[in-house]
Amino acid sequence: MHEESYVSTQVIGKANLFKKAKLILSRLDIELTERCNNNCIHCCINLPLDDTDAKKRELSTEEIKKILKEAVSLSCLTVRFTGGEPLLREDFEELYLFARKQGLKVLLFTNATLITPHLVELFSKIPPLEKIEITVYGMKKSSYEAVTRVDGSFEAAWRGISMLLDYKIPFVVKSALLPPNKDEIDDFEEWAKSIPWMDKPPSYSMFFDLRCRRDSQKNKSIKRLRITPEEGLKILTRRKDKYIKEMKEFCSKFMRPSEDKLFSCGSGHGGCVDAYGKFQPCMMLRHPECVYDLKNGSLKDALENFFPKMREIKAINPDYLSRCARCFLKGLCEQCPAKSWMEYGTLDTPVEYLCRVAHEQARFLGLIGKTEKSWEVSGWKDRINEFVKGNR
């Protein structure tokens, strides 16, 4: 037996446990509720705080614990608690402690408005081992509450953030760029720099998703909030050199036509349990053919049998086959079955807005000409090579 060192230390975020063996499940997302105490103008999922029907249908404490236990048995190391607003669950503390005592790290997505002195004490004694992620909707009461549409939410969020800072609970911030707050981006980034755990600039959502459960009325208003592809490009290229450097790395790996294969992402290798016990292949995809009922099955069965079959679904929509299937901008485009589902209720319809965003970026990077369509480009490999080498 005798050895020099018996214990080695790994920083959690950098642990390479998962590179050594193929795990069934490395991380699990759980939407603890779809309800939210905010009513954000752009949100793709939130239900009203007092939606009693939704609350009644939510998984019970014991059902969630059972799912967490199974996740641990499948070697899961991290659970992400999201929502809606996960802190709305009255049993949040119980679930959090249960997950941590099972040896899971907890990644919490929250708006911070429901952070209490009791919770920060808890996070201080029993740390989540992952930085809490907070979405900040504005730097001023007027802008913040124009997004959340809840009086007092600005003060509540900043109170929560201050408590986390006081107790030195690691967190990062991100934002959603919307008409009420988009002029505050510099102020936001300046403030974000002062947060000790921000090791890179904050991320933004701006090409907003439509409602995950499809809602034509709300979708109309979300569409109106979307920035134009030109505006989006301006924001993406604010740090132009960094953007181009990242795009070169990205393009060298991920640019190619996907042909009729719909699932080329990680969807279904992990997944997201919705508030009612349906296991989705990702946080967004709720197409009935793609979700698995955990009340009548198990994570293992979904991951080993259901999702692999789902991943074999091929595109059949002629429009998709003539455009997306032949488009080499795959790495720049957010087109996927989930986005198609949210926009059109199908898995394989080209999402026009995302197509325009991808083309705008490709034109900026010199990958396509002013009037060219990406699916018409035959020598795309040469264009990528030239771009990566810096010749375009």
Partner: protein, 103 residues
Amino acid sequence: MKSGVSLNNIYKPSEDVVAREVAGEFIVIPIASGVGDLEDEIFSLNESGKSIWDKLSADKSLRDVALELSEEFEAPLEKIEKDCVGLIQELLKRKIVVNQGNN
């Protein structure tokens, strides 16, 4: 003993950690703050470490642990005792085990 670890003492896993096998690796994950030097560290035990860890319990002195392992592995007791002391030293330093004394 120079190391501060006594074979007569009982050492047991702290209630502030949980041990799990993930991806074929035996890891110890902190539950409460104060384990290890940083808040975001996990600890991997090697094969020898895992064998010793599995034997640690509230009613067994470290010498008993070493005796059991010496029989199981058919290895010299002196060498196993050295392993046990080495591991416990490392774990105590990180507050992963607690010293229960020699009752």
